[in-house]
Amino acid sequence: MEQTPVLKVDGLAVAYKTRKRDIHAVRDVSFEIYSGENLGLVGESGCGKSTVAYSIVNFLGPNGRIVRGNILFKGEPLHNRSEKELRRLRGADISMVYQEPMSALNPSMRIQDQLAESLITHRGMPRSEAYGKSLQALKDVYMPDAEAVMLRYPHQLSGGQQQRVVIAMALLNNPSLLIMDEPTTALDVTVEAAVLDLIAELKERYQTATLYISHNLGVVARVSDKVGVMYAGEIVELASTRSIYQSPLHPYTMGLMRCLPDVDAPKGTRQLLPIEGRVPSPANLPSGCIFAPRCPHVIAECSAQRPKLVELTTGHHVRCIRAGEWIGKDMVWLDQGVSTEPCPDRDEASPEKTLTVQNARVYYPVPFKTVAGLFGLEKRQYVRAADDISLQVKRGRTLGIVGESGCGKSTLAKAIVGLEPLYDGKIEFLNMDISSPLNKRKLNVIRELQMVFQDPNGTLNPSYCVGDQIAASLRRFHTIPPDQVQGEVEQLLRSVKLDESYYYRLPRQLSGGEKQRVGIARAIASNPAMVICDEPVSALDVSVQAAVLNLLLEIQKTHNTTMILISHDLSSVRFFSDDVAVMYLGRVVEIGPCEAIYMPPNHPYTAALLAAVPRPDPDLEPSRVRLTGRVPSAVNPPSGCRFHTRCPFYMGDICKEQEPPERDFGGGHKIYCHLSQEELEQIKP
């Protein structure tokens, strides 16, 4: 290609100044992006992806600086320019889209003013013309009801709509370069899918050069033409999307692929292979290849010197001395880890039920907004977070609960463990009635029902060492004599694959995955009959997710623990669950054995969820089942079928007026929908 690249980054190195020393966050990063091309940067958190993006627009902050290297924008150097020139460039030719759409929009300005602002200031366009152009931009990003949206404030839009506005704003000036930093990470899968469709289409239409940053291999496969894999501040592999996904040559890329749970593989058929160890801190990097300490293919020469990024085959750059050995070998990375043996006793009929939830409702009162309400003169309104839920969990099995954010899955979990009071309904656990909240339950019931939490940073008390926090549970439940507590804690730490030296560590000295392991150790300390895992891996990097999921599976096998896995990620639910319940707006819309859920017939909502999962395969034709609109409020949920406002198969009044009937497909697979059995079987995700 003879044309000048829109963006050329050459040998970029960035350092951050800290109290002790300079942290070299990014070293020797080079790539080019041509017009109409989308380069994806992937890697785990802390590997320098965002730093690269920020150094292009010179947003490194007061303590960051470019140490070496050149950034050429259309052949001209971009750094060392005055702030004024940069501002002009940023507005007119380079646009950036951030992860959090809400924080990118000014909450006190109407959408039309925010959009028109840059046109008026950067181009001196008259007001009316700027508004017209803004409206057109909103229509270009397929904003439903664009005229009305123009007059709204950001908080009146859903997350997906906000992100569309941000993208529209970024495209307004027809930029030559668009930088997107995890633009869909904060969105639900169904919304993410629609935004990704949009990004892919806009690239075709405007021929914008795009730098797309993401931690999700599936997302990058969907939108990018070229992919750069970053590890600890360096690009370790750079190639076209197809060759990266079909024949990755760097062990790190292979590792990333190997640890992804596959939404198309049932439980027990595939073992996830996590990447051992953790990303080295930029302060003390290994002397040779930076990936060598975690690499399964390491040889003595690896630590001798740092390998260079070399072009092995056309357009395929790899930073690994052994990469040549893997050329042409197809899927070498998949050889290990595939077991065709299903879980041993999974088909065995086990009629014993550990947990039964009957017509459970969890309502949160809405605070009164009027004086009349304060004196009880107004009808109390409720957020119906979980509304009439019935389900059962069999002993030693896992029930997966999936759904978008706000569907009530976490609320249901909290009600089961007793952290939220039930408004109505009944929960039975080991043949005991546990409908009462936590402070009314007996200690020996509490002990049998434990929970693993979502946020690794919030799950442990920062003030106490790890061992003491696990020991607190043991002491409280008097499961073992006090003099054996220390030994038992060490035993528990070993069972979550941490050694005894972790006993006296403080939570801040642990990585996210390690904290999650300690959280698991704490949950199983009392040897509970049931553990509820509320999004246990969603805050972790993929490589660590795999290890934690494997660990949970192992614990379930050894202790025959009954589990509930709550997740928005259909892949990890499939990897881990025997039964699945799909929730939408406080209701269960489909429930059944895991295999049945992932195959037709499906509820239209389940089909849309399945279609939205980004798959790490660039050749897969994206499905077109997409949801529109926003999730309605749970204070006044839609009448009839709650999904009818967004359903692609909406049939008219019957959906609006009547509760959907139960359609039983046998084997416990039930769908709640007005469509007939035959029609449901036609739905393809």
Binding site: T18, R19, K20, N63, S281, A283, N284, V417, G418, L419, L438, R441, L443, I446, R447, Q450, M451, F453, Q454, D455, N457, G458, T459, L460, N461, P462, S463, Y464, Q469, A472, S473, R476, F477, E500, S501, Y504, R505, R508, Q509, L510, G519, R522, S526
Partner: protein
């Protein structure tokens, strides 16, 4: 900035987690405790020395601490000794800061006054913290009616101008060391209660609090064991700030004649008694004023510097 990162940082600066050498079992808990303590002290020293503001503030505070501790060694006269032959003297070789209207040595009164202020200040703030935590912790943890009741009472208390509140309390119970402490504690408690309440409302939503509930811990245990220790960062900074205010208020009370009963050496009292003779001799007033200013500013600079430095490099 969230309080969480803030409070973690006040005690220890952000740095890459260092591999902790596993300690042999026989070393025991005590050794480990001191090793941890020493590391924290080192971190704190590092924070302080990184901030010029904190260093200057600390030097000013340490000067007065030094003076208070070694008061008998660095003064030649007793602070109460009156010399009628030499009243209102300007500085001289015999009296380096001169004498006051009763012929007492100003430097001695200043030095012993530092003792007064540096014991009563922290003591009153400590009492204020006990009160504030006792009110703010349950208020933030339970919310609802308890929160409303406590907060409205505190609002009523805060509606009084601070000085007026002190004057009401002191004139009701009479001036004494103990009563000054109580007055300043009552005046400061509402602000502390609000701070503790806000921190508690944030921390109670953390998952480790839910985990404690899931082992059946009582509310009291959760508040004291899980929540309070994680409030410590902002509370320590607030404590330092408030010692500065307390020194100032003790001085003000002294000036209004409601402070410590004479002839206690007290900086505020020195200003109050000296200001009638300012035309004749400015030294007692000037030196006491400068003493109050340097101590208050020093404490504030120290607290500010520590706070800023611990919040840097996020």
């Amino acid at each position: 900035m969230s309080t969480a990162s803030f409070q973690e940082d006040i005690a220890r600066p952000k740095q890459p987690p260092q591999p902790v050498a596993p300690l042999p079992e026989q070393l025991g808990a005590a050794r480990r405790f001191f090793a941890g303590l020493w590391k924290r002290v080192r971190d704190l020293i590092e924070i302080i020395t990184a901030s010029p503001t904190a260093v200057v503030g600390l030097i000013m505070v340490l000067f007065w601490v030094f003076v208070a501790v070694f008061a008998p060694l660095i003064t030649t006269y007793s602070p109460l000794e009156q010399d009628y032959k030499a009243i209102n003297q300007p500085p001289s070789a015999a009296h380096i800061l001169g004498t006051d209207q009763l012929g007492r040595d100003v430097w001695s009164r200043l030095a012993y006054g530092a003792r007064t202020i540096l014991t009563l200040g922290p003591a009153s703030v400590l009492v204020a913290f006990l009160l504030g935590i006792a009110l703010g912790l349950p208020s933030g943890y339970y919310g609802g009616a308890i929160d409303e009741t406590v907060m409205r009472i505190l609002d009523a208390l805060m509606a009084f101008p601070t000085i007026l509140l002190y004057m009401i309390i002191i004139s009701a119970v009479g001036p004494s060391h103990f009563n000054v402490v109580i007055a300043i504690a009552i005046g400061g408690a509402p602000g502390i209660a609000r701070l503790v309440r806000a921190l508690t409302m944030d921390i109670r939503t953390r998952e480790y609090v839910a985990a404690a509930k899931l082992r059946g811990d009582s509310d009291f245990t959760i508040m004291v064991r899980e929540i309070l220790p994680n409030c410590r960062g902002p509370l320590i900074v607030d404590f330092l700030m408030r010692i500065g205010y307390a020194a100032f208020y003790i001085g003000t009370l002294g000036f209004l004649g409601l402070g410590l009963p004479p002839p206690t050496p007290d900086w505020g009292g020195m200003v109050q008694q000296g200001h009638n003779h300012m035309m004749a001799n400015v030294w007692p007033v000037l030196s006491a004023t400068l003493a109050i200013i340097t101590l208050v500013i020093g404490l504030n600079m120290f607290a500010d510097g520590v706070r800023e430095e611990s919040m840097r490099y996020q």
